[in-house]
Amino acid sequence: MKTMKWMSAALAAGATMLLAASLAQAADKLVISNWDGYMPKDLPEKFKAETGIELEVAVHATNEEIMGKVVASKGEGYDVLFVSSPFAEALSKLGIAAKLDHGKIPNIANLYPEAAQLTHDPGNSFSIPYAWGTTGLCYRSDVVKAAPTSWNDLLKPADDIKGKTTMLSTDRWLMAAGELALGMSVNEIDPAKLEQVKALLIEAKKTLLAYDDTTFYSKLVSGEASLVQAWDGWCNYGIAEKPEIKYVIPKEGSDLWVDTMVLVEGSKNKDAAYKFLDYILKADTGKWVVENIMYKTPNKAGMEAIDKSMLEKYPNMAIAPADLLKYEQLRDLGDGMKVFSKVVTEITSAK
């Protein structure tokens, strides 16, 4: 009967597709995972032209995702990962990030001396910094009545900006705004102190428009929001669309965030991976990062090669590395994570 033939054909088709899909497995390649658009688009071709190594770029949307995948599979299939510093730290402690042999990465000399003094990994023994920056307040200077100077301008907003503020939704930065406002460490795990932060942030939630990690700058551009918590590089995206947008680091301080590259311990292509790390540390990649994704890079050679007009248009790029190091870095919280996570749940579920 016709439908029976259909069904068996369907099953056969399904099985063949399954087979075909599995046979279409990639051969020997260098596999890296990065955020989308975080690396020059033509890097794989140029890399292959120079070293002959085939590069496959997988994408991840958040640190947490790639961490979940890598922790569950011990990094199977990946050679190099781009993750933020607290996660690189965790990967190292879990034995998934390999110890780096600097001898194989001569271009590491391109980094600022300060880049070797990062608290999560002094000496860059298991991670190489790729981009860094601060987290602060991004706002419409033409809309807000008074320019913000403190984290409390976001957490206890003036009447004209009530309901027009956003905060970052990633737990560490969400809490950091409160912690910095109260003069605490961004790596605080004392339950009593966290309770204070919680109270402050639950109050702040009442006047908050939304927690937003991705579209906060476009909310500024469209006028939906007037003052947002933002990473400096992202504020630049807003500034590019609307020059009235400005970035400021509140007087209580900021955190120094660092996006890094780690080599997976279980990688079967370590030599190729080293060549990749070395290639990334070239001056022109650093220059690309600044000019295309508007982030600062710890690559000294790269920063010095950029178009100087960028520094005028995006003032937050001009901050000196020595000044960056004044800010505390987010570290993995270890066992303190449970308490921290509970407080965050209390805040996000508060009515």
Partner: protein
């Protein structure tokens, strides 16, 4: 009256779609502010092999998992409905629907890692079949609850084999439910992200469209992504029209 209501419902279903189609022609890259008409995003899309490859992968995964899950799920439903109600069996069949997908995702990845099973598009297909079986089974079982088993008994009494009974009696009667179930499974699979992300192989070769889009939303949904959604929609629409003309007379309800 019925028609008017249906039209209203379709308006509800398609309004956001209309919005995203319009936005795909937005000049600037912003997801929320209209700045002028432009087709550059469609051009950019065609130059982006990653997106096209991801779309192709999604289709492969969705079709394969739908075929397999529909076949297995239908047989499962038949087997289950014929016997006495068993709460244990019901619970088992219900589980894939209620297990939070992050749990299933991590569970499968851990399992695959443990048994050293290779990852790739095929592992995603296997994973998708797991939850699709449950949905297919549920839809077909709902149909089978009002099924007249005396028809199959009669067929057997008259000497037909089990297989022939299935082919000529049971299957034609439950065919619409099976199609509905397959449609459901396909829809669930083509848009599924978490399980696909975790059970995929490490490289680009097993990236599906939802995975690609999730990674691209760093800046919100750009017109480029909307352009892709519009193209997918138009292609699906054309497919449906073609299928409709082609299959007139052999589809459910006819």
């Amino acid at each position: 009256m019925r028609k008017a209501y249906l039209v209203l419902v379709y308006v509800f279903l398609y309004t956001p779609i209309a919005v995203l189609m319009v936005l795909s022609f937005n000049k600037a890259g912003l997801p929320t502010a209209w700045t002028g008409f432009s087709t550059e995003w469609y051009g950019r899309l065609l130059e982006s092999p990653k997106i096209i490859a991801a779309a192709r992968n999604s289709l492969i995964v969705a079709m394969a998992s739908t075929f397999i899950a529909t076949a297995i799920g239908t047989l499962l439903a038949l087997g289950v409905e014929r016997r006495k109600a068993s709460s244990g069996l019901d619970a088992l069949l219900f589980m894939p629907m209620i297990i939070p997908d992050i749990v299933l995702a991590i569970a499968l990845l851990s399992f695959f890692t443990l048994v050293k099973f290779s990852l790739g598009l095929h592992s995603i297909i296997l994973a998708h079949v797991v939850f699709n079986i449950a949905f297919v089974c549920a839809v077909v079982r709902a149909r089978l609850k009002s099924f007249d088993w005396s028809l199959t008994e009669a067929s057997r009494d008259l000497g037909a084999t089990a297989f022939a009974t299935f082919r000529h009696v049971t299957f034609p009667l439950i065919w619409p439910a099976v199609v509905a179930a397959a449609l459901l499974a396909f829809t669930l699979s083509i848009d599924e992200f978490i399980i696909a992300y975790f059970t995929a192989g490490a490289g680009q070769g097993s990236t599906t469209l939802p995975m690609q889009i999730y990674a691209m939303i760093r800046f919100g949904v750009t017109p480029e992504i909307n352009a892709m959604a519009t193209i997918i929609l138009l292609m699906s629409f054309i497919l449906v029209l073609l299928a409709q003309r082609f299959n007139r007379g052999s589809m459910p309800g006819t």
